[in-house]
Every structure is written in structure tokens, then in C-alpha cells.
Symmetry: C2
Subunit: 402 residues, 2 copies
């Protein structure tokens, strides 16, 4: 009864398990895994008190998870404490690993993350992918995946699944790239192009970036709007700790929110979309610069040097972001807005005008804006961790596959 | 162990029950109630097959629900069918009822709805509430509530809870009206003003209107954006069959999404908000009419007569709605947009320009727009039904209170 791992991940929430004894057991196994993962090492008694089950019930669950290789005992706790010494439990550093991959406009990256959340293996290849056909790009990505998996296997890990982050709209089948304008890809099933013998998920990079922020950020709330940029502007809406995906999987298209309804035409068919004011290329154009490979580095460098044209272009982009975010904040009432991806690196020059615009316009209470510490690493880490979370969410399914 | 009914309702989702035997039993009782409510009358065998439990398990649950007066047996099914004749089960038309109330700018309304969803008692009082203090308004509302409850009690019903719809922002405590600009109310705890001996919930009228559409509309999807208007413009976001409430309970403020960032100032502090183009008063002003009591009737009447000024004003309002909805559709990717409340009555003149704008601008697939058949009845029915749903979601809690 192997549940398809890849279905649960892009939502960030657990799979719905049936309301039966068997379903209850699986949910409780997941609770034990999540508790030890978040707070471990912990004794059995501590786990029992955290999740509100008896010590005996927890021991049965823990024994099963140890047999499956998902938990391990660290040996007796230090003496001097009252009662029989318990053995602390920790999530295993061997066994299943999450493989994350990223198709960027200018790079490919793959990493393996173990159940403890540590990156154990990683590979990156730089080079422009814009306008290249999906086949050779995904073939290159496949080589990196094999390389990272081989290295992980040498450390006693095995791939529980692969999640691929792409800069575009991905259908709810979590395989088909419907439109990736900055790669010029349309309606391609990446599952066909990337044959692997473990579950494969494809997702939007902004969504994976937001999940990384949710799982790895410090003090990230459970309701926030994550705004990122590579060439386009992407956003993701996290509600109550889960991703809002939308009917077609396309939620979060902040880049095409109208900012000036009579503004310049946009390739999407609209006019005056946010991307026409705050997308990387629009900002470069406004600053009188040529788009090259390290666009963010160029803008940040010039702004830091005090280039007034670049600073003004970033200030105007911040204003446009503030207008679009006002609408989003009014609609969603999030706990915060987090700037991630390329925007994180430009935050010092975007934030003042963005925050001024947002505060001035928002009807409700002020919505704080923060800057991601993960920056451009977010999507790749989010992808790998989505596989890891899938293992924690239903350890039985994975153990049966091992 | 009486669970607070009023916490669960405004979300439209069920309360989270603990993952224990007792929690499992309560969830299964809820499944039986929901199944019979949605598809009844049904035999025990039919219920068992619908929810995937054994006939014996379902019989135990059904017996408990019959003893509590929440289900009733309609007597043996017609003969001529194979096997022992089963007795069809139906939701009881006696017992707990949901009381809904609405504070409108120009009226007060209260109704009682039984577990079958039928309105069993109703009272309305017309009169302008704008600028009146909350005390006398809520005192009048209390009189209507007592009148409706007394009438319901004569029919063998008892109030399981009261939900009050107000045209304003309501805090997540589901009691405090933080801001109701069109009544001129601020930071008032209606729970203090309306003493009743059953659970009280206060919620935003647009939210209750959206829930009514979800529960009572025909073919309403589980992901949609509901847009309504009285004097302000309200909206509510329904995701996967539940209301998106937001951090402060303020999600859905479509009326203050910027439509023309340099447009006229709005009392909210912003500029060019949707309400400045598509709110009832803005439309009346644009059409050169004076705001009176039956504003929608006036606009609809004149538009139907062919008044070109009114038609143009409504066309422009539709365009502004289309711009604001483009942003919302890009962010949320809903299955549809539903126009409710006062907007439903004006749809013939708003829709063409609204749909043209939305189709032209939306980056993703076209988002269909439909018109609510509930119209201005939505918020009141949604409020009453939210109490009824609370009973179906956790029948044990209610039975213990009876």
C-alpha cells in the first residue's frame, strides 16, 4: 500500500488518511516522527507527553520506526537522573533522503537532504538555459541527479523522491510545466523527460521557496505571502502552514497583478502588470543597464556604490511592489510578507518605498515585511525538504518501499 | 465537555478533534450526520457504504444519534425489495436549530433554520441604522431574536446558537466589530450587547454570504471568490470548501484593492480603491443620482428603463471590478467568481465590462463569473446555516447541551 509521495508535497500539508484504526496508527507514527524531528533528541517518555499518548503506545510506535530505520537510539542518557535511564531517540541520518533539483534561467542545481534536514550532497552547473529545448536541459539535470544520488548512497542514504523546482506555472499533476516564459517552455511533461525509479514531483520555484521559508526560516509565521524574483516575479501564499495552490495550481501570480491599468502592455495580454515595473529586466531597463548573467549582483553592486539611476529604478520598483502587495494584503490578511529569492539581495533599496506604499494604502492593520535569509537557496532547499516532509508525514509508506 | 460552537463556524470547516478513540467516534458521528443531511433519507446500509464503515459500526452510531434526537427513522422502506426491510434515516426536523441574524445598513433580519436546512421562522424590521449607536440597534435585534426563537420553540426546536452578520471587519474572537464604516461602529463587542443563553458568533456579512453560496448554491465549486456589496464592497475567499479568514479575520477586503493608484482618496487612507469606482455611492454619484434607501432598486430600475447615465456608471463600475478581480484571480486562481448581494441585482449591466476586462487581463486560464441566486438573502441564510453546520460537525457536543 505505497502511497504516492509526490501528491502530498506541493501542498505542504499531510495526506488525508482514512479515519480507521490503521489510519490512526499511521497518523500517530507521523506525529512521533515530526516530534522527534522538530525537538529531538527526546526520550520515549518525552515523546509520549508531547503527543498525548501513553508511554506504552509510544514505545510500540517507536519500535516500529526503529525497525524501519527512520529513528535511531542514541544510547542511555547520562546517569544521575531519577528512574531507569531512558535512551534518547533521534531521527536517522541514514535511510531515506529527499532529492531537490532546480532549473534556473542561468543554472541547474541538485541536492540531497537527509531526514535530519542536513544537506549531504550537492551539485551545481552554471550556464544559460533560456530558449534551450527542455530535452537537453533535463538531460543535464538528470546527470546531476545521478551524481548526487550516487554520493548520497555512499553515505548510506537512498532517494525517497525527487522534487524539481521550475520558474513557471506547473499543472496540478505536479509533472507538467504549462508555461515557463523565461525558459520559453510550454506544456511539457518533465516526468517523461526525467526517468527516475523513485517518485518525481515538479513544482513552481516560488512555491518551493515559500515552503523553505515556512520550514527553515526563523520565526516564520504560518500565514504569509512570499514574494520572490528571478527574471519574472513569483509569489506564493501560505495559509495555516500549507500552500494555497489554486484550481489549476497557478495561485500566486503576483507578477501579473495590474499596478497601472493603463500602463505598458505585458506579454501575458494585460497592461501595466507588476512585472512591467518590478521584474529584473524592467528594473535594468529603467536604470539604463544591459541584462547580463548576474543581474541581481549587477543591480546590488551599482546601488551599493551609490548609482542614482539604479537606486531610483529600485525605488520605483519598490513602489510598484507596494501597490500590488496592498491588494494582496487586503485580500489575504497575511501575518507578514517575506521577500525572498533575488528580491532578498535588493531589499535595502526596495524596502523603504515598498513599505511606505503598503503602509499608506493598507485598509487593515500594518503588515510587516521581512527579508528571507535563505535568499536564492530557497527553492532548491524547499524542493528537497518537501520530499523529507513527505517521509515524516507518512513514514509507513516509505518504510514499505525501502 | 461542551465544545464552543462559535469557534468553528466562521471558518466553515470542522473543529479539529483529537486523534484518539473518542475523537474518532466523534468524527464518525459527524460523517453520519453529514451523509444523511446531504443525501438522505438513507438506510443504515447505504450510510455504511457511503462512509466506508461496517453496517454494525454505523448502527451503533445511528442509534446514538437517534437517542440524541438528531436523526429520526421514517419507518420501514417500501416492500418488494430483497432482504429485511430497512428503515430510512432522516435528519430530524425538531431539536437544534440555527439562528441567523443580519445587521444591515437599512434593515435588521433574523431567522431560524432547522437541521434539514428549512427556514422555520423569520422576522425583518426596516429602518436606517447608519450612524445609530450599536446599543439601540442591537437591542432591537435582540427583540427580533427572542421573537424568532419563541416561534421556533413552539415548533419543537431549540436554539443551538446565534450567528450575526455585520457589514464590517470582525476580529477573530468572532464577537468584536473592529470597524463597520457604513454603520460608523468601531471596536464594539456585540457579545456584551446581546445577552443570549446559547453560543453567539459575529461574522462579516460577505463571509456568511459566501458560505451560503458554498452550502446552498447549485453547483458552487469548493474554491471561489465571492463578491458582494451593500454600500461597501465585500468579498470572501473560499478555499477547498473553507473560508480563508486571514490573520486578523479581515481577509477579502477587495473594496480597498487599488484600481487606479493615483485615483481619488478613500476614507481608508489609500487612493483609487475599488470602492471609489464600484461602491453603491460611487455609482450613484457617477450616474448623477441621490443616495436613498433602495439604492440597488433605483439603479436597476433606471438601467432597465435604458437610462444611459446609469448604464454608463454601471459599465465603468464593471470595468473597475474587472481590474481588481484580475489581481485577485492571479493571486488565488479560484475556480470561479460569484457575484452576490446587491451586485447580483445589477449583474446584467456590470457583467459585460467586468468579464471583458477580466478575460483580457488574466494571465492564466479564463475564470468564469457567475451570479448568485441567493442575492441579498445570502448573509442571513449563511449565518443560520453556519450554526446548523456546527451541529453536523460535532453532534456529540450539541447532544450533551440539549
Amino acid at each position: 500500500m505505497t502511497a504516492p509521495l509526490h501528491e502530498a508535497h506541493p501542498t505542504g500539508g499531510g495526506r488525508a488518511l482514512p479515519n480507521t484504526q490503521q489510519g490512526m496508527r499511521r497518523r500517530n507514527l507521523a506525529k512521533v516522527m515530526h516530534t522527534v524531528s522538530a525537538e529531538g533528541p527526546l526520550s520515549r517518555a518525552a515523546v509520549a507527553s508531547r503527543i498525548g499518548l501513553t508511554r506504552a503506545a509510544v514505545s510500540t510506535l517507536v519500535d516500529e520506526l526503529i525497525r524501519s530505520g527512520l529513528l535511531e537510539e542514541l544510547g542511555p542518557e547520562r546517569p544521575g537522573r531519577v528512574g531507569r535511564p531512558g535512551s534518547a531517540l533521534a531521527v536517522s541520518g541514514r535511510g531515506p533522503a529527499g532529492i531537490g533539483a532546480e532549473v534556473g534561467v542561468d543554472h541547474l542545481a541538485v541536492c540531497a537532504v537527509d531526514l535530519r534536514g542536513e544537506v549531504r550532497s550537492r551539485a551545481v552547473r552554471h550556464g544559460a538555459n533560456r530558449g534551450r529545448d527542455p530535452e537537453p536541459v533535463i538531460e543535464e539535470l538528470g546527470e546531476l541527479v545521478r551524481q548526487v544520488v550516487a554520493e548520497a548512497e555512499r553515505e548510506g542514504l537512498w532517494p525517497a523522491g525527487l522534487a524539481v523546482a521550475v520558474p513557471g506555472l506547473v499543472a496540478r499533476d505536479a509533472r507538467t510545466v504549462v508555461r515557463a516564459p523565461n525558459l520559453h517552455w510550454r506544456d511539457r511533461d518533465l516526468g517523461d523527460l526525467l526517468p527516475v525509479d523513485f517518485p518525481l514531483t515538479v513544482g513552481n520555484e516560488a512555491n518551493f521557496g515559500a515552503l523553505a521559508e515556512l520550514w527553515l526560516g526563523e520565526g516564520t509565521p504560518r500565514d504569509f505571502l512570499h514574494v520572490s524574483a528571478e527574471i519574472g516575479i513569483g509569489a506564493a501564499v501560505v495559509v495555516d502552514g500549507g500552500l494555497l495552490r489554486g484550481t489549476h495550481g497557478f495561485a500566486g501570480e503576483l507578477g501579473h497583478v495590474p499596478v497601472q491599468p493603463d500602463g505598458p502592455g505585458c506579454p501575458c495580454g494585460g497592461r501595466g502588470c507588476l512585472e512591467q515595473y518590478a521584474g529584473e529586466e524592467a528594473v535594468l531597463r529603467a536604470a539604463g543597464l544591459e541584462p547580463g548573467e548576474d543581474r541581481v549582483g549587477l543591480l546590488a553592486g551599482r546601488a551599493a556604490e551609490g548609482d542614482e539611476d539604479v537606486r531610483r529604478a529600485l525605488r520605483d520598483a519598490g513602489t510598484a511592489l507596494g501597490i500590488a502587495l496592498t491588494g494582496a494584503v487586503n485580500l489575504l490578511d497575511p501575518q507578514s510578507v517575506v521577500l525572498g529569492g533575488a528580491l532578498a539581495g535588493l531589499a535595502p533599496w526596495l524596502l523603504p518605498s515598498l513599505e511606505a506604499e503598503l503602509d499608506r494604502r493598507t485598509a487593515g492593520p500594518a503588515c510587516p515585511v521581512s527579508v528571507s535569509r535563505l535568499g536564492p537557496e530557497g527553492p532548491l532547499l524547499g524542493a528537497a525538504h518537501s520530499v523529507v516532509r513527505g517521509v515524516l508525514d507518512d513514514p509507513v509508506a516509505v518504510a514499505e518501499r525501502a
